[in-house]
């Protein structure tokens, strides 16, 4: 034993020396725990005062425009539907439906509904009837959507899982959902909204999980959390013992070693089941329902009739004066959040990021509204500009890539705009976690390049699709025209042949002329 110790110490030192270059078996980075916004255990999360104006981008989870169901001047009540999947999170009058900046990596505008608030209501404003059991319809009514990453509608997810795609379930005898995977991993530095939720009330979390088990009729339920969240784990295990359930499914608390980005669905499924998700296959298609812990709690509240009108947002970063976790009404602008929490950037050159330090992106305007997926607002100082150097193919990036891509190869193709080839090397699998960015010795901004390549690929596909449709339309029109032309010609020809086939053409012509003359 004694002899092995120095070796172990040496290896540990090697890891510490190269903190950002350690290669985990599954990739990823063991980042130092940094969660400055957490309150003491058991303290409830404060609510941010509702601002005078709320803004709702008319976009769904896939950033497709949805149709507004309200018109300007209409007054709405808290919980009323504004568009499919979007609720009014306070009562008031619709002031405008116009283009406004939204939270988007390319700083895009989108059509937004602007609501002038006159009655704020509160978290416990019931807009739906209390029901005994949670149903998928209720989830849709309460507009429950994923509070973790992509903001996928929870009802949609559940339905997709329940009618699993046939081609996958063919090989397996099971149907429906076999595992409910509750994601409380929250692996990115700074972000602590889920942990704050658990620390404020772990019993509720477990009760909510049991409700979800009942709804999804799963055989197994895994609650995944990082092992460095000591208090939260202790509270959860006490709560698991305390909360009784009649479903017969126990909540398994799985502690994962703190490696970023274990919380990403793709990576989490791999770490829990040991099997990677094939490209283009969602976890639901394999019978795994993966939900964020905050989403589960929101769903549970929906059963009691509370629609999802707010989410917990972490405000943190090295330029944040008062890092905190705060419950924010969806639609509140980032500027309001920063102002009310006393974190308005003082220095003129701060970077304000939506999302974490790695996976997030900088905002160009603070007037953008908080959406269901805004888990963190980070205020950071500007970076000392080190110009990106040439890639030396050191392959640190592929060592840390949690989905086993070769980022430098992808970068090569993406920067040469050969997106087809980049796709072959798995561009679509990139989860934009940012691990490659922060280990690159040449300071190459890989993630933003991949983000660009993917969106331009999507645009290309869209353009191609549009062009195909246009071409088809044109070809059909051409076919129609030529068909019509042929028909006309055929009639003409027939007439002609009739004329020619008569025995005495001259007499016929004279007869026709006479027939024409007669009426006058």
């Amino acid at each position: 034993m004694n002899r092995r110790k120095p070796v172990k110490a040496l290896l540990a030192r090697s890891r510490r020396l190269q903190q950002t270059g350690r290669s985990e078996p599954d990739g990823g980075l063991p980042l130092v725990r940094n969660k400055p916004g957490l309150e003491a255990v058991g303290v409830p999360i404060t609510e941010l005062p509702v601002p005078e104006q709320l803004v709702y981008p008319l976009l769904d989870y896939a950033r497709q425009t949805v149709q507004a169901q309200v018109h300007v001047g209409e007054s709405v009540l808290l919980g009323d539907s504004i568009a499919e999947g979007i609720l009014a999170t306070a009562s008031g009058t619709i002031k405008a439906i116009e283009h406004r900046p939204i939270i988007h990596p390319s700083h895009r505008d989108a059509l937004c509904v602007v609501l002038d608030v006159d009655a704020t209501g509160d978290e416990n404003t019931q807009s739906l009837a209390t029901s005994d059991t949670l149903s998928t319809e209720r989830l849709a009514q309460a507009c429950i959507s994923g509070l973790g990453g992509a903001g996928f509608g929870t009802a949609l997810k559940l339905r997709a899982a329940q009618n699993k795609v046939a081609n996958i379930s063919d090989n397996s005898s099971e149907t429906g959902i076999h595992t409910l995977l509750v994601n409380a991993v929250e692996c990115e530095p700074l972000i602590s909204c889920d942990e704050a939720l658990i620390r404020s009330d772990a019993q509720t979390v477990i009760t909510a999980v049991h409700t979800m088990i009942k709804l999804s009729v799963c055989q197994r339920c895994v609650l995944a959390i990082e092992d460095d969240k000591v208090d939260a784990i202790a509270m959860l295990s006490t709560a698991i013992d305390a909360v009784k359930s009649d479903t017969g499914v126990d909540v398994e608390l799985v502690k994962l070693s703190a490696v970023y980005p274990s919380g990403a669905e793709k990576v989490l499924v791999q770490r829990i089941t040991g099997k990677p998700l094939p490209t283009g296959v969602r976890a639901t298609e394999l019978g795994i329902l993966c939900l964020n812990v905050a989403t589960v709690v929101a769903a549970w509240r929906a059963q009691a009739g509370y629609p999802m009108i707010s989410r917990i947002v972490t405000v943190a970063g090295s330029r944040a004066n008062k890092p905190c976790n705060i419950r924010v009404r969806i639609g509140t602008s980032v500027a309001d959040v920063l102002q009310s929490t006393g974190n308005a950037p003082e220095a003129d050159d701060s970077r304000v990021r939506a999302g974490g330090p790695l996976s997030g992106f900088d905002l160009q305007s603070l007037s953008v509204p908080v959406t269901a997926t805004t888990n963190c607002i980070a205020i950071e100082p500007p970076q000392s500009k080190s110009a990106a150097m040439a890639c030396i193919r050191c392959s640190h990036c592929s060592e840390v890539c949690p989905v086993n891509l070769v980022p430098q190869q992808l970068y090569w193709y993406a920067s040469g705009n050969d997106i087809q080839q980049a796709q072959r090397f798995g561009l679509d699998n990139c989860i934009e976690c940012g691990c490659c960015d922060i280990v690159c010795p040449s300071s190459i901004e890989l993630t933003s390049m991949f983000r660009y390549a993917r969106s331009s690929w999507r645009e290309q596909q869209q353009d191609k699709q549009d062009a195909d449709i246009a071409r088809e339309r044109y070809e059909q029109r051409q076919r129609r025209l030529s068909h019509r032309e042929q028909e006309a010609r055929k009639i003409r020809e027939e007439k002609k042949t009739q004329l020619i086939s008569s025995k005495d053409p001259i007499a016929d012509a004279l007869a026709r002329a006479r027939a024409r003359k007669r009426p006058s």
Binding site: S14, L17, Q18, Q19, T20, G21, R22, L31, A160, V165, N167, P276, L277, P278, T279, G280, V281, P345, A347, D348, D349, S350, R351, R353, P357, L358, S359, G360, D362, L363, Q364, S365, L366, A378, Q383, S384, M389, A390, I392, R393, C394, S395, V403, N404, L405, V406, Q408, Q409, Q423, F425, G426, N429, D437, I438, C440, P441, S442, S443, E445, T447
Partner: protein, 361 residues
């Protein structure tokens, strides 16, 4: 836009820069350089000085010609490292003008003709070495000029023609010239191939192999190899290089040397000793691992190392050149795009591209 700085980069974490990687490699070379200068040839230090200065000079000019900012390019220190590696692979007796020519080739043909750091398909130091060895075969194979008793042409003539079969002559060479053990082994081998008939090969081979091993083990070159190994372990420890390439090179060479005696009558080094002969350690840890020109995928690295070892073995054993690392590395550099193409698979794609798109709902 009120006072926001927008950046596409993620928040800065402590990271290792390219120049710090290069400096780490130079630190890893230090023990070897020290031993080389102390026990073998102190002209090494002078040559390193000349080569690095010229390298920096040539690179500045080339970067200026390419209209880029000079300082950031010089700061990454990669050209100095390449120059040092070149000096370590040539005889220290090489005339300075030839060395400077080599450095010039390194900067131009090796590096900037392809677009500078990160774009060169071949290891620049090995490109320069290859050009030097075909341009100046005499001075490039003359590992000493201690005294005028023996001049290079004669050594080569002797070695090439294998006319000298006398063992006494060989030992005399040893005492006089101090040529590298590999050169001597080469000669020894040729001589054995001619003098010993296949019948009594079983008798002579182990004996000769042993004496060859002795030659290696008793020389300062062994200590040097150990120093390179130590440097390589430092690089592994600091996680600058991955274990795959050096381990694959060394393991393959060991196997080849272990199996070789079964098929030949010529004296062969014991496998473990062979690994410490010549430039194998330097090559396996410092030259084959050059990230720019090596394979990058995990399996690709193993294949790349295997290829280098096999080529190196064949060049060493069956060609006129005593050492094969340089050409083996260059030949394998050529195969890198193919290797990377073949071995870059991503774990998440079970299906082919066409299936993937049709799978999506």
């Amino acid at each position: 836009m009120s006072g926001l700085t927008v950046d596409t980069a993620s928040i800065a974490y402590k990271r290792r820069s390219v120049s710090s990687i290069m400096v780490h490699v130079m630190v890893a070379l230090l023990p070897g350089i020290t031993i080389y200068a102390l026990y073998i040839d102190s002209r090494l230090l002078f040559n390193i000085l000349i080569a690095s200065t010229c390298a920096l000079l040539f690179e500045s000019v080339l970067v200026l010609l390419r209209r880029r900012a000079v300082l950031p390019v010089l700061k990454d220190a990669s050209i100095v490292l390449a120059a040092i590696l070149l000096v370590l692979s040539v005889p220290q007796s090489l005339p300075s003008w030839q060395l400077v020519f080599g450095v010039f080739v390194l900067c131009t043909l090796g590096k900037h003709i392809f677009g500078g750091l990160g774009h060169n398909p071949f290891n620049p130091a090995m490109v320069a070495y290859a050009v030097l060895i075909v341009s100046f075969p005499l001075t490039m194979t003359q590992w000493t000029e201690d005294n005028g008793l023996l001049d290079a042409p004669e050594i080569i003539k002797n070695a090439e023609s294998s006319s000298v079969n006398d063992k006494g002559q060989l030992t005399e060479w040893d005492s006089l010239s101090g040529a590298t053990p590999l050169d001597r082994l080469d000669t020894l081998k040729r001589e054995a191939g001619i003098s010993s008939p296949p019948v009594d090969a079983s008798l002579t081979t182990p004996e000769q192999a042993l004496s060859a091993a002795d030659t290696i083990l008793s020389s300062d070159w062994l200590i040097l190899s150990v120093a390179w190994l130590a440097g390589g372990l430092y690089l592994l420890f600091m996680r600058i290089i991955s274990w795959r390439i050096p381990v694959s090179v060394l393991a393959t060479l060991w196997c080849l040397y272990a199996l070789y005696p079964l098929s030949t009558s010529t004296p062969v080094l014991p496998a473990t000793v062979a690994l410490f002969s010549g430039a194998i350690m330097l090559g396996a840890f410092f030259i084959a691992t050059d990230p720019v020109s090596a394979a990058t995928s995990d399996k690709g690295k193993l294949v790349y190392g295997f290829g280098i070892a096999v080529l190196c073995f064949f060049i060493r054993e069956f060609s006129a050149y005593p050492e094969g690392i340089a050409f083996a590395v260059l030949l394998m550099n050529m195969c890198v795009p193919l290797i990377d193409h073949a071995f870059t698979r991503n774990r998440f794609s079970g299906n082919s591209i066409d299936d993937q798109t049709s799978n999506r709902p």
